[in-house]
Symmetry: C2
Subunit: 138 residues, 2 copies
DNA sequence: TATGCACCCTGTAGCAACTACAGGGTCAAG
DNA sequence: CTTGACCCTGTAGTTGCTACAGGGTGCATA
């Protein structure tokens, strides 16, 4: 498939596809006689992953890291485990935050349905992480 | 609290705090006689929300939108509902994607524990969304 | 009292990750 | 054989920070 088709299939701009190639996330595809990029299904799969991982707030470096998990067949188990475990922790943190947001959004929408206009407490759902409050607890 | 304390409490750079003020996400705080920014607990709460929402892949515009949900007391129910519903759908999509990633990461880590080095199928977990495959199904 | 030193201020410039042209080639349809 | 939709490379702009430069504040302490 040509770059435009790949871009459309993944809701990506053509320029962004080329950008990911330059950035080393997407391997350079074969070229046609006219020097057009020619992609296969593996590229589609990979670009799809990149786009969705980026949408989830992973940096390009983190995505490169995750892709390496799938690419490097011969990596020692320990290294794979360390990388995967780190990302798993991050993923679980994000799921927890999003679940809190989902609850609050659902509550607000629900109150709307009952015409009560409960004031949205969404900010409270992602409050300061317990760390350093300089004394003075609630 | 001073900007440095606020920054530390939210794991943010001081410059970033000032940037959010300029961007209209964080309201300009009171100033001391020496022209130092002086923040209260509401600022802490709000900045915390901003940071975590950004980490979840929401754009600054989207965050502004979510903050407005909490700020605009007098908004008509319908508008609130529309905004909240849109974001709820996005949140649920993200939770689904992260859950898929979590499962695969868990599987890879588990296989490592058994010294089997299952090849990581993480890319497949976030494959192309059903949309336009130009014919040729599996 | 002064002299560090850590912190604050307002700029402006740089970096990451796209995004949008400019200027030009390819190719199927009419 | 031209017209329109697509492709190419390259560079410049945008967003969301991040890092100085150049200068003021404030508290400890010599």
């Amino acid at each position: 498939m040509k770059i435009g088709e790949l871009a459309k299939a993944t809701a990506t701009k053509v320029e962004t596809v080329r950008f990911y190639e330059k950035a080393g996330l997407l391997p350079p595809p074969a070229r046609t006689d006219a020097n057009y990029r020619s992609y296969g299904p593996a590229h589609l799969q990979r670009l799809s992953f990149i786009r969705r991982a980026r949408d989830l707030g992973f940096s390009v470096d983190a995505v490169r890291d995750l892709l390496a998990l799938a690419d490097d067949r011969g990596k020692p188990c320990g290294a794979v485990d360390a990388i995967a475990s780190g990302h798993l922790a991050e993923v679980e943190r994000k799921i927890a935050d999003l679940s809190a947001m989902r609850e609050e959004l659902t509550r607000v929408i629900g109150s709307c349905r009952h015409n009560t206009v409960a004031d949205c407490k969404i900010i409270e759902t992602l409050g300061p992480r317990v760390a350093a409050t300089t004394e003075t607890p609630a």
